[in-house]
Symmetry: C2
């Protein structure tokens, strides 16, 4: 049985690594705004994301937070200002 | 009856406004990493946070996402790399 989880991934990484993290995460998740992604993952994909991130970030300088939920029903999302990602157009 | 919610606030704002947003949010929430706060709020405080943010950000350029939950039990948080905020020391 494939377990699906919903995640929010936020990262605070050195400017040298920001694009690599963004490019990597875009393969799995939806870009919401700079340094923030969301989306559904299988538990196998989640492990892949974590392994991939570990290869990109410097664990002594950078920080990545992964919030995991059973589904997107667990929260309400409210956006103030312009919608960059998700519904809005992505600013490269 | 005071309703308490748990929020994650992530922001992607122009560099000129980042410090004002950070200083403002620090009065209500816990700094997790750059552009990311978490914590418990009463619904009245949440309205205050939204009104305060509206006075600081430029709604045509900046984006703030507020994720709202019934409580912190709604999610699991996993940190990769160094813990800047919450348990770790805050890098000003």
């Amino acid at each position: 049985m494939v377990v699906i989880v919903y995640v929010i991934v936020a990262y605070d990484v050195n400017v040298e690594r920001v694009n690599r993290v963004k490019k990597f995460l875009r393969r799995y998740l939806n870009w919401v705004q700079n340094s923030l992604f969301e989306g559904e993952l299988s538990s196998a994909d989640l492990e892949e994301v974590k392994m991939g991130l570990r290869e990109i970030i410097n664990e002594d300088e950078d920080m990545v937070v992964i919030y995991r939920f059973r589904s997107a029903d667990a929260f309400k999302r409210e956006v103030m200002g312009i919608e960059k990602g998700l519904g809005g157009e992505e600013v490269i």
